[in-house]
């Protein structure tokens, strides 16, 4: 069935709300407005104000309320408009949600699902465009997901709600309009990385909103006779390093593509894992394509220049291959 990423997210939430009375959705504009990205259109009418709750503009408050509801036995889906705004709720997420199981000696768990948009490319400037997935991927106690395909948008929410611990789902703002076929077997795990394209010459490792760019780059490279393997991390914490290592043992070269800023990025973590596990398989230095280290600009040409692009990925691969 053909559908958009937005529709896949909507269907996943609809299924969860219909199947389990403990599930409810809470966040800014999720009710009357139908969601900033229209992922909850029609939900208020269908499920009522008890379960589709518009909140004040206070991330600290409503994420905290979500944690409380999870502790109380509910299965909240809390939507935060962008990862930039989620910083206001960092204390709740890092100091409370991620830590409670450990601090209570296993007596409490926080079965909370936090969804948030991330990423640039829509001229929303520096306060709405950043990619801070790595901040969350740094924190023990939470699982971090980055659905980058229609199938993952449809399939990841179910296992995330079933997880007894907090799960953060990053939806890249550029992906909502992505259209594609929803495969019949869209059900998936939330533990492994996926090989999205097989190849033998170089491993391109990426996640989230950069996946379509990397696949486009791989297509372009194929025309030059370079067979690139594309790995979609899918799960940013804990990283599935075995899939990465298996690919490196085949290709011996890697380029990591990450919309986060270069320094201290997820790309850096992936590269460190490669060096730790695959040093003697490497045939070239590992390269990365990240965002330029500036607040994401508003002007279109400058925003484009700041982000990973197909041409930059292709150039990095050529350099790694010495071509």
């Amino acid at each position: 069935m053909k559908m958009t990423y937005r529709e896949a997210i909507r269907q996943a939430m609809h299924e969860a709300l219909a199947a389990d009375p403990r599930v409810f959705l809470m966040g800014e504009d999720v009710g009357k407005y139908g969601g900033t990205y229209a992922c909850s259109k029609g939900f208020l009418e269908e499920f009522g104000p008890e379960r589709i709750r518009d909140t004040p503009l206070s991330e600290l408050g409503f994420v905290g309320a979500g944690i409380g509801a999870a502790l109380g036995g509910l299965r909240p889906i809390v939507e935060v408009m962008t990862v930039n705004f989620s910083l206001l709720a960092l204390d709740q997420i890092v100091n409370t949600a991620a830590a409670l199981r450990h601090m209570s000696g296993g007596q409490f768990s926080v079965p909370l699902v936090l969804r948030m948009a991330t990423g640039a490319g829509r001229q929303l400037a520096a306060q709405h465009s950043h990619s801070l997935e790595n901040w969350y991927a740094h924190i023990p106690g939470i699982r971090v997901l980055a659905p980058a395909t229609i199938a993952d948008a449809r399939g990841m929410l179910g296992p995330a709600l079933a997880d007894p611990d907090p799960v953060v789902i990053f939806e890249h703002a550029q992906l909502y309009n992505l259209e594609g076929e929803l495969p019949d077997d869209w059900r998936c795990d939330i533990a492994t990385a996926a090989v999205r394209r097989e190849g033998t010459d170089v491993s391109l490792i990426t996640y989230g909103g950069s996946l379509p760019k990397v696949l486009a780059a791989a297509g372009q490279l194929a025309a030059e006779g370079i067979a690139a393997e594309v790995i979609d991390l899918r799960v940013l914490r804990p990283l599935d390093t075995e899939t990465i290592a298996a690919s490196l043992r085949k290709t011996h070269k890697a380029v990591v593509v990450d919309e986060g800023w270069r320094s201290g990025s997820l790309a850096a973590e992936v590269m460190a894992c490669i060096v730790e596990q695959c040093f003697f398989d490497l045939d070239a230095p590992v390269a990365r394509v990240c965002s330029e280290e500036v607040p994401i600009p508003y002007a279109k040409h400058m925003e484009e220049a700041a982000l990973p692009q197909v041409s930059k990925i292709v150039a990095a691969v050529r350099q790694v291959l010495g071509k």
Partner: protein, 392 residues
């Protein structure tokens, strides 16, 4: 998950070539079972396993040469299934001992892109060159900034295919010479030997042996060598400092006397596999063991435990006609006992001159572990043992 690693089949062994697997994935193995045949530079050895389990994966293929310590296979323990067993990635081979020096490459072979200081060689290229036996310094780099890549190594290996194929036809005799050279050099470099010798009258032993053999069919007759081996093993009971290994700066006494028997091979070279627990075996059993061992040593089908276990070596050059032998200790052992030819000579006993068969027993021992005083007492004990052949 149990890892089966290539054992060291002697102090001079750095690597071995797998000739054949005797098991397949799914087979159940018992302690002591022969699972593989490995070619050391000295012999084709039946390698035994000392764990029980079910063979899961064979990680090394026949004809592969691998360093000692490389994981050759994985086994499932009782109760493990392939699903529950954690897959262990193939261990990186231990670093090899200094590789044989290769002729320095001609200056022209150096790639133009070589930069000052360390050359750029990718880790994968370096590893693969080692596997292929390609001299990495002679490979020109075409990778990023002139780096030597996997493709460059493969290219180099392909172009030198004819000479490369011509060289590795293994010269068995040369290989063994090299192995002996390494072990003996190490021995003389590391072990402060001292030497003692003692003439041992052999009248009683030769008489007893002649009588014992009278009633035996030719095939079951005992050799003097067997008496000597047993006497050495019994003497060792009182002198544990002659029996064991010197490792990591300390002596480790052995609990039983596994006597290595120096066997010269027809094609040249020698080998000293063990007869296990000599002190507790009858002379008849020792004779059978010795015959079997010599036969298998010459056929090249020894077992790994025979290669790695000797706790002391006995060498007997009497048949070659020498009067005495002062041997070089086989590390990490700490002593070697030698016997020369049994020769009739004038002998004074209780003031009377007689003619008596005499053999010179010698001891080469490690001065880090024992002193000449104890060594002398050991030889005296050995001499007394040989005076009571009926007790052996």
């Amino acid at each position: 998950m149990i890892e089966f690693k290539l054992p060291s089949l002697g102090a001079d062994m750095d690597e071995g070539k797998l000739l054949e697997w005797k098991v397949s994935p799914g087979d159940t193995v018992k302690k002591g079972q022969v699972v593989a045949i490995v070619d050391t530079s000295k012999a084709a050895v039946d390698v035994e396993i000392w764990s029980e389990g079910t063979v899961f994966e064979l990680l090394v293929q026949p004809d592969e040469t691998i360093p000692v310590g490389t994981v050759m296979a994985t086994l499932l323990e009782a109760g493990e299934t392939p699903e529950t067993a954690k897959r262990t990635p193939r261990a990186a081979p231990a670093p090899k001992a200094a590789a044989a020096p290769s002729p320095a490459p001609a200056a022209a072979a150096r790639p133009a892109a070589a930069i000052a200081g360390r050359r750029r060689i990718s880790p994968a290229a370096r590893k693969h060159a080692e596997e292929l036996g390609v001299d990495i310094d002679s490979v020109a780099g075409t990778g990023p900034e002139g780096a030597v890549t996997l493709a460059d190594v493969e290219q180099a290996a392909a172009t030198k295919v004819s000479p490369a194929r011509a060289v590795p036809v293994p010269d068995k005799a040369a290989e063994m010479r090299k192995a002996i050279a390494a072990a003996m050099s190490r021995s003389k470099r590391e072990i402060p030997h001292y030497y003692l010798s003692e003439p041992v009258p052999m009248r009683r032993a030769t008489d007893w042996l002649a009588q014992a053999n009278e009633s035996r069919p030719i095939t079951a007759r005992l050799l003097m060598a067997v008496l000597q081996l047993k006497a050495v093993a019994l003497a060792l009971r009182k002198f544990p400092e002659m029996n064991g290994f010197f490792r990591d700066g300390a002596f480790q006494p052995a609990s039983a006397a596994h006597i290595g028997v120096a066997i010269s091979l027809r094609q040249g070279g020698l080998i000293a596999p063990a007869i296990h627990d000599v002190g507790n075996k009858s002379l008849e059993q020792l004779m059978l063991d010795l015959t079997d061992l010599v036969k298998r040593a010459r056929a090249g089908s020894l077992r790994s435990s025979e290669m790695s276990d000797p706790t002391l070596t006995v060498t007997n050059l009497g048949e070659q006609g020498v009067a005495a032998v002062y041997g070089v200790i086989y590390p990490p052992q700490v002593a070697l006992v030698g016997f020369g030819r049994i020769v009739e000579q004038p002998w004074v006993e209780n003031g009377t001159l007689t003619v008596t068969p005499v053999v010179t027993a010698s001891l080469a021992a490690d001065h880090r572990v024992s002193d000449g005083h104890r060594g002398g007492l050991f030889l005296a004990e050995l001499r007394e043992m040989l005076q009571q052949p009926e007790t052996l």
